[in-house]
Amino acid sequence: MSRRKDNYETSRWRQFMQWLAGEIDPLTAAKVGMIQEKAETLPDEKMERGKVSTLQATPGNESDEREAHSAAAQAEKAAGQAKSAMAAEPWLNQPSGESRGLRLYRRFYQVMSILLCMGIISVLLWTIAYLPIFGNAGNPDNNEVSARYIEKGLDETGAVNMVTGMILDYRAFDTFGESCVLFIASCCVLVLLRIDNDGGSESWKKRQTEANDRIFEPKNDIILQKCACVLVPVILVFGIYIILNGHLSPGGGFSGGAVLGSGLILYLNAFGFQKAERIFNGKIYQRITVSALTFYCLAKSYSFFTGANHLNSGIPLGTPGNILSSGLILPLNICVGLVVACTMYAFYTLFRKGGM
C-alpha cells in the first residue's frame, strides 16, 4: 500500500485485477488506447505501437480504428449487432499478427460462451432425465394440493375457473405481490423516463425534445384512424369481458388488463397524444392505479386478517357460474385489470415521450 498511485494505475497487476473484476478486459483496454490514438496515421502506426505501454493496448491500432468506425456506424443505426458478426469480418482479413491477441480473445470468449451454455444445458438435461415423466397423472405435483383446488375450489372460492380461484384466493398473497412487482416496475420506469418540468430549464427542454419521437408518429393517418374507430371499442369491450369473466372462463385481471392496455395504445397511435391525453393522462393514471391497488390491498388485507384469525369474512360467495359470484375475486380482477391496463399504457407513453 506504500505503492505509489501513478505506478499502480498502470501496473499490470492492477489491470489484471480490473480484468478479474470485470471492469475492463483486454479488448476494452485496447479501445481506450484506440480512442487516444485515433489521430495517428497509418504510416506511424508501427512506431507508435512501440510506445503503447500496456500489454493490452498492443494489438494494433488499425483494427481498432476499423472497429471504432463500424461501432460508430452501428450506433448511428441504433441497432445493436452481435459483436461476433461485427468483429469477425474485418479481422479475418488482417494480414499480420497484430490483432492476434484480440482475435484469440474473441474466439476464446465465443468458445467459452458456447461451452458455458452447453454446460448449463447438459446439467439441466441431466437433471430432468431423472424427473417424473411428462403428462403422467401419478407425478408428485398432482397431489392433495391440486386435488383440493379442484375438488373444493368451487365451494371455497366460488370461482369456476380454478386457476383464478387459486391465484386470487388460495394464493392471493403471491398475486398481490405480483401486482406490486408491476407497480414498482412502473415506478422505476417513471423514475427513469418521466421528464418532469422543473421550471423550463435548458436540460429539461433538451431531454424533452430528445425524447419526443412524435415526428415519426403517423399524423392523422386516415386508415389507421378509421380502423381504430372500429377496433378500439371492440378491443376495450373484449378486455372488459375478459376481466369480468375472469372467474368463469379463461382470463382474468392480468390478461384482460393487457388487452385493455393494447386498446388504449392503439387509440393513442391512431389519434395522437393530444387526443389521448384528453381521456387518459398522468393524473388519471395515478388515481386509477392508486385507488385500484388500495382497494386490492385493503380487501385482501381484510380477507387475510379474517382468515388468519379464523373469522368469518362475511363476504358472500354467490352462486358459482354467475357473474356476480365468488366473493372478492371479481372486484379484485377489476382492480388488477385496471392496474395492468394503466401500466401497459403508461409504459408505452413513457417509452415514447417520457410522460403522459
Partner: protein
C-alpha cells in the same frame, strides 16, 4: 393474539404506504415512510419478544386456507429479530442519508424514492417471514426491482450502468432461483415450505431423485449467491454500492443481500433440510467461495482508491464471511453467519452513511486521499467511520469481534475446515485492517486543503443516525449474549 398479526401487518403496511406514496409529494412520502418503518420496528420487536417469551414460532395463514393450500407466513424468534434489526437499520439509513436523498433525487421523484424504500422494506420483511417458496420468488423480484430503483434514482450515467449491471446479475440469479423452484415443485409438488420439507424428507428416505435434488440445491444456492454477491459473482457490487445515493448504498449493502442470504438459510433449514445440505458437497463449495471472497474482496478493496468502492468491496469480503459460516455446516457456524449478517448490516450501513458525511466536507471527490483531515471537519462522521472500520476489523467490544469469535469457535467444531477458516479469518482481518485503517489514518491526517465550502455542522438527524448506529454496534458487541441465544433458539425453531 394481536401480536401474531404483526408480521402480516408490517408487510402489508409497508406495501400500502408504498402504494399511497405515489400520490403524495416527497415530504409526505418521507413522513409516511418513516412512520411505517417506525411502526415496523415496534411490531417486529413485539413479535420478537412474544416469540421469545413463548419460546415458539407460529405460522400465519394468509387467507382462509391452511398450509398446503393457502399462502402462509411464519414468524419465530429469528424472523422477529432479523426484521427488527433490518427495520432499525433501514430507519437509520434513511435518516442518515436524508439530506442527500433530497439533493440527489429530482424533486418531483422523491416520492418515488420513498416508494422504493417502502416496497424494499416490505419485500425484505416478506423474505424474512415467508413460508412459501413462490411468495419468496415474487418478493425477491420486488426486492430486485426496488434495489434497481434505488440505484438509478440518482440519475447519472454511472448509476444507469450500475443499475443495468445489477439487473443483469440479479436476473441471472432470479432465473436460477426460479428454475430451482420449479424443479423442486416438480419433485415435491409443494410450494409451501413445511409440506415441501416433509416430501423432501420422504424422497431422501426413499433415495429417489438424488441428482435432481443435488441440482436443485446447487441452482438455488448459486442463484441466491449471485444475488447476494458472493465472491465469483460479485462484479456488480462495487458499481452499485459505490454510485448510489447514500441511503441506497447503505440499504443495498446492508440489507438487500442479507435478505437473500436469510432466504437461503431458510430454504436450507425449512425446505431442503440442513442435514441433506451438509451431506451434499454444496456446503463445501459455499465454504470455499466464501473463503475466497473473504480474501479476494479485501484484496480488491486494498487496491481500490475510491472510498465507497472500497467499502463496497469490503462488503464482498463480509459476505464471504457469512457464506463461510454457512459453509461450515454446523449449527454454530450458522449462528455465526446470522450474527455476522447483523453485524455487517449495522456496520456497513454506518460506514456508508458516515463516509457520506465525510465526503461532503471534503469536496465530494472520490479518491480517498481527498478525505485527509476530514475527521476533524466532521467529527461525528469521523468517529462513526472509525467505529465502523474497527468493528469490521474485529475490535473487541464492537460487534465485529463477536462475529469473528463465533466464526472461530464454530470452526473448531468442524475439524476439516478448521485450519482454513482460522487462517482465513486471520488473514482477512489483516487485510481488513490494511484498507480500513488506511482510511482512518487518512481521516485524521493533517489536512492539506482547507475545508471545503460550508456545511461543517452536520445536521441533527444525521448525527442522531450516526450515534444510533454506533450504539447499535456497541450493543451487538457488548450485549451479544442474548442476541446469540435468540439466534440459536430461532435456528432451532426452524426445524
Amino acid at each position: 393474539m394481536l401480536v401474531q398479526n404483526f408480521p402480516f401487518f408490517s408487510i402489508v403496511l409497508a406495501m400500502f404506504s408504498g402504494i399511497l406514496s405515489s400520490v403524495l409529494n416527497g415530504k409526505q412520502a418521507r413522513n409516511v415512510s418513516l412512520g411505517v418503518i417506525g411502526s415496523t420496528i415496534i411490531m417486529s420487536a413485539a413479535v420478537f419478544f412474544w416469540c421469545l417469551g413463548n419460546g415458539e414460532s407460529y405460522t400465519y395463514m394468509m387467507g382462509h386456507f391452511p398450509a398446503p393450500w393457502g399462502n402462509e407466513i411464519r414468524a419465530g424468534v429469528l424472523e422477529g429479530l432479523t426484521a427488527l434489526l433490518f427495520s432499525v437499520i433501514m430507519l437509520l439509513s434513511v435518516l442518515g442519508g436524508m439530506r442527500h436523498t433530497f439533493e440527489d433525487v429530482e424533486p418531483s421523484k422523491v416520492n418515488l424514492f420513498f416508494i422504493m424504500i417502502d416496497l424494499m422494506l416490505s419485500s425484505l420483511l416478506a423474505l424474512i417471514y415467508t413460508n412459501d417458496l413462490f411468495t419468496a420468488y415474487v418478493f425477491v423480484e420486488i426486492n430486485t426491482i426496488a434495489g434497481c430503483g434505488l440505484i438509478m434514482i440518482r440519475q447519472k450515467g454511472r448509476s444507469f450502468s450500475a443499475a443495468i449491471r445489477y439487473m443483469i446479475m440479479s436476473q441471472l440469479g432470479s432465473g436460477l432461483f426460479l428454475i430451482g423452484l420449479t424443479l423442486l415443485y416438480d419433485v415435491t409438488g409443494h410450494l409451501l415450505m413445511s409440506p415441501a420439507k416433509e416430501t423432501v424428507a420422504s424422497i431422501e428416505a426413499a433415495g429417489r431423485y438424488e441428482i435432481p435434488m443435488l441440482v436443485i440445491l446447487a441452482v438455488i444456492s448459486v442463484g441466491l449467491a449471485i444475488k447476494s454477491g458472493l465472491y465469483p459473482f460479485h462484479s456488480w457490487i462495487p458499481y452499485t454500492y459505490g454510485y448510489a445515493t447514500p441511503t441506497a448504498s447503505a440499504i443495498l449493502s446492508g440489507l438487500v443481500s442479507k435478505g437473500y442470504i436469510f432466504l437461503l438459510m431458510k430454504i436450507f433449514y425449512r425446505v431442503l433440510g440442513q442435514e441433506n445440505v451438509i451431506a451434499s458437497r454444496m456446503v463445501n463449495v459455499l465454504f470455499l467461495f466464501g473463503l475466497a471472497g473473504m480474501i479476494m474482496g479485501s484484496v480488491h478493496a486494498i487496491l481500490e482508491e475510491d472510498t465507497r468502492r472500497m467499502i463496497a468491496y469490503s462488503s464482498v469480503a463480509q459476505i464471504g464471511y457469512i457464506y463461510m459460516g454457512i459453509g461450515l455446516g454446523t449449527e454454530s457456524g450458522m449462528v455465526a453467519a446470522v450474527f455476522h449478517m447483523f453485524t455487517h448490516s449495522a456496520t456497513k450501513a454506518l460506514l456508508f452513511i458516515s463516509a457520506v458525511g465525510l465526503y461532503e466536507v471534503s469536496g465530494e471527490k472520490k479518491d480517498f486521499r481527498s478525505l485527509r483531515g476530514a475527521g476533524y471537519r466532521n467529527r461525528l462522521a469521523g468517529v462513526g467511520f472509525t467505529v465502523g472500520a474497527l468493528s469490521m476489523v474485529g475490535f473487541p467490544m464492537l460487534s465485529g469481534f463477536i462475529s469473528k469469535l463465533l466464526f472461530a469457535t464454530s470452526a473448531l467444531q468442524s475439524p476439516h475446515k478448521m485450519m482454513l477458516t482460522l487462517i482465513g479469518l486471520a488473514v482477512s482481518t489483516v487485510l481488513n485492517a490494511i484498507y480500513f485503517l488506511r482510511l482512518v489514518i487518512t481521516l485524521y491526517g493533517r489536512a492539506e486543503q482547507v475545508a471545503v465550502k460550508g456545511k461543517q455542522r452536520c445536521s441533527f438527524v444525521f448525527g442522531g443516525a450516526i450515534v444510533c448506529f454506533i450504539l447499535l454496534n456497541l450493543f451487538l458487541g457488548l450485549m451479544s449474549q442474548p442476541v446469540v441465544r435468540a439466534i440459536t433458539e430461532g435456528l432451532e425453531m426452524f426445524d
